[in-house]
Symmetry: C2
Subunit: 229 residues, 2 copies
């Protein structure tokens, strides 16, 4: 995938791996996860579709690399500050993850689709477990609690964006007349408009998200200053 920098022979590359990931992310944001295609990426970059396969072995690898880059962009500094209370550190991480994922709703399914075992994914879990360990949890409990937190954050956002897609999809799929005409809807294009209702739902789910997170942290921490056990 990545060539060694010492080796420089042959025809120069027309694009970069990052440009491919940028194009993929662009398609992800505009059309949803289903509309990310190798051909679309290539068209956006002005190269032949199969030229992508010199950078990544297949489409799944592109999506995995996109997830990895996404997780690598998460700012660790905020919740790596050991001066802050551990609850605030965890909440900072959760909120940052949520903010980034809501900005790219299609990425949630990619996160939940793969096994999340890339370097950045593991480092993120490691950091999260470190926060809990700093607060006094055993290594085992910290690992378990970090898993619970990851599950909650990803699950909550997955359900949230699934509900947001509802407004877009029902309009097209409620037209259930047999042999419905194709000119009314094109299944490949989503409008994804930001209406006021979506905004309201967004803020509501933010509150709901924090409510759940707070109560989960309560459950993970029997005493106010320390997490589980």
């Amino acid at each position: 995938m990545t060539q060694s920098p010492n080796r420089r022979m042959g025809r120069p590359r027309a694009v970069t791996e990052q440009a491919i990931l940028d194009a993929a992310l662009s398609q992800l944001d505009t059309g949803g996860a289903a509309s990310v295609s190798v051909r679309g990426i290539a068209a956006q970059l002005g190269i032949a579709p199969n030229a992508v396969y010199t950078y990544f072995p297949n489409k799944a690898a592109v999506l995995r690399a996109l997830v990895e880059r996404f997780l690598g962009e998460v700012n660790h500094d905020r919740f790596a500050d050991r001066q802050m209370p551990w609850r605030e550190r965890v909440e900072a991480l959760a909120l940052e993850l949520r903010t980034r994922l809501v900005a790219h709703p299609g990425a949630v399914h990619l996160l939940l689709g793969g096994p999340m075992d890339g370097p950045n994914a593991l480092m993120l879990r490691e950091s999260l477990a470190g926060v809990l360990a700093d607060a006094g949890a055993t290594a085992d409990d910290a690992a378990r609690a970090s898993y619970v937190l990851v599950v909650y954050v990803l699950g909550a956002i997955a359900l949230e964006v699934a509900g947001l897609d509802h407004a877009d999809l029902t309009e097209s799929e409620r037209i259930t007349t047999r042999r419905a005409t194709l000119d009314t809807i094109s299944t490949t294009t989503y409008p994804r408009t930001t209406s006021t209702a979506a905004t309201v739902a967004k803020y509501f789910t933010t509150e709901q998200f924090l409510w759940g997170l707070t109560h989960i942290l309560n459950g993970l921490a029997p005493t106010p200053e320390a997490p589980a056990r």
Copy 2:
């Protein structure tokens, strides 16, 4: 989709909607969510591919109906018993959901992909909120807490099945990255056993699942007998 029973004229149907869903579920179980195809369903039933469109307007409708049927098969009796403690009732529901979803791993993505607004999905959430309300929570808190529980159950199983199917992906770079990252990170963080049998990981995650559920219930219930607030 469903014809009225009074109206019976025309050529009789060759199959039933349930048979189509059965075929779809079969494909889902054998090949994963990605390998469910209209053509495959039709081939399995011995009909032409486009004959499916007599029963459902499109493929997405088939999958939605499959999810709805799946949720409808969840046994409500176990956790509708008001004699049992509310924690046991919730745990019974969560474990039943988990058991069913682990039996059909591909269904998890379908559940998280859609907005979960079908009748059975709503009834399930309502039943769950009812349990919490029975235990003394306000209607608002019961709704919020049920949301948290749904998020946890679905998210946990999604991550679990995502970790299980690491075999279908290209192994070349996956193994290298995993080894590289696992060496740098302490094994106590998250012991994802690759060499051991799937049953071991399965039981481990079952235990992990219950651990998280217990602690979340602790957080939702400040006092041992009542959930949030």
